[in-house]
């Protein structure tokens, strides 16, 4: 099994939907009018519905209810809207996983919970950008999807070994496949032309000491560990990873804040999952 072959096969994975690419282009344009962006998003009814649901969820804690895309864009801002469109797009790109691995729903529940947790930690700790942390959290395990889709047998064997407590899943991925989800995730993000901050968080969330200059990496490392402890969905991991003490310190959090943050993660995640997942 050669990991180069796996990387070559990534090209066969679906591209990001057109609506996302157009939204990204519109946001990057120097003379972008919010109305143009709103019209673009409204051209996709299911995307519009999800964006409004998430904008009205506790994630943004808005004082008033928003019922038009334009109103949502003015209140949550274009960066948050961009990230919401990307998350919704990714969920439509990857629809199913081979049976016998983890369910796609469970994978996205874990990813959304990690996004919510990372955003809250960034907000409370004051060291990382909450919107960047949100998207980095959402994307952190994206490299597992090609592993499940392209190498279901080897990945199934790695999962079984993990469930028999033979080691952490990311170590077993290397053992069984010669590559792990952090490396594949970073390649995917480069392929989709997403910024460096997200690539670092994806490639180093299990090795945060490699990305000391990116505060979002430490935040995602801690968010992933918390979400695995709370058992909110799963991307395959069943056992809580090892906490890097330095990464914990770099989040800016105090251990006394932990119980309140854990409660907030549980509450917000429930709402955000239903906003994204219910059709």
């Amino acid at each position: 099994m050669s990991d180069d072959r796996l990387i070559e096969q990534l090209g066969e994975l679906p591209a990001l939907p057109n609506v996302y690419l157009r939204v990204r282009e519109a946001i990057a344009a120097p003379d972008m009018a919010l109305e143009t962006l709103a019209n673009l998003i409204e051209s996709d009814p299911s995307l519009s519905m999800r964006l409004l649901r998430v904008a009205n969820s506790p994630l943004y804690g808005l004082a008033t209810r928003v019922d038009t895309i334009l109103h949502a864009l003015t209140l949550i801002g274009t960066t948050a809207a961009h990230h919401l469109v990307l998350s919704t797009s990714l969920m439509t790109v990857f629809r199913d996983l081979p049976s016998g691995t983890v369910s796609m729903r469970s994978f996205w529940e874990h990813s959304l919970a990690c996004a919510v947790a990372a955003r809250l930690i960034a907000h409370q700790g004051g060291r990382a950008n909450p919107e960047h942390a949100y998207l980095a959290g959402l994307l952190h395990d994206i490299g597992r999807l090609p592993l499940y889709l392209l190498e279901p047998l080897n990945m199934g064997a790695a999962l079984r070994a993990h469930c028999e407590h033979q080691g952490h899943l990311h170590d077993l991925e290397r053992q069984y496949l010669g590559i792990d989800h952090t490396e594949l995730g970073a390649i995917l993000l480069a392929h989709w032309q997403l910024p460096e901050v997200f690539r670092s968080a994806v490639s180093d969330h299990h090795t945060p000491w490699h990305s000391l200059h990116v505060p979002e990496t430490a935040v995602v490392h801690v968010a992933d560990l918390i979400v695995n402890s709370l058992g909110l969905g799963t991307s395959g991991t069943r056992l809580v990873p090892v906490l890097d003490d330095d990464a914990w310190k770099r989040t800016g959090l105090d251990i006394e804040q932990l119980p309140a943050i854990l409660e907030a993660i549980l509450l917000t995640t429930r709402e955000v999952i239903s906003a994204f997942m219910e059709s």
Partner: protein, 104 residues
Amino acid sequence: MRLTEIQPGMRLAKDVHDPQGRILIRAGVVLSERQIRLLRSWAVADVCIARDEEAGDLGRRHPEISDELLRSIDTQFSLSNRDHPVIQALQAFCLSRMLERRQG
């Protein structure tokens, strides 16, 4: 503990390294027959085995918790660094959340 006395199912208390200092098997791993053979092939003579006191301690502190619940939390955190205060706080939070759920 001498490698000759190790049985499958025992849990490592410390990382096992090869002569170059690379980690062969991490602390917290429950040893399988295959891993014990691997250790023999690396000529590892002694490994440090966990005495599983964490679950026992929790059980003594919370006599109302069933063994099954203790075992599931213990397994979930078995590969983490349980000497870290944040991990201990997380484990305590998860335990109380599970208890609340059981009691409805």
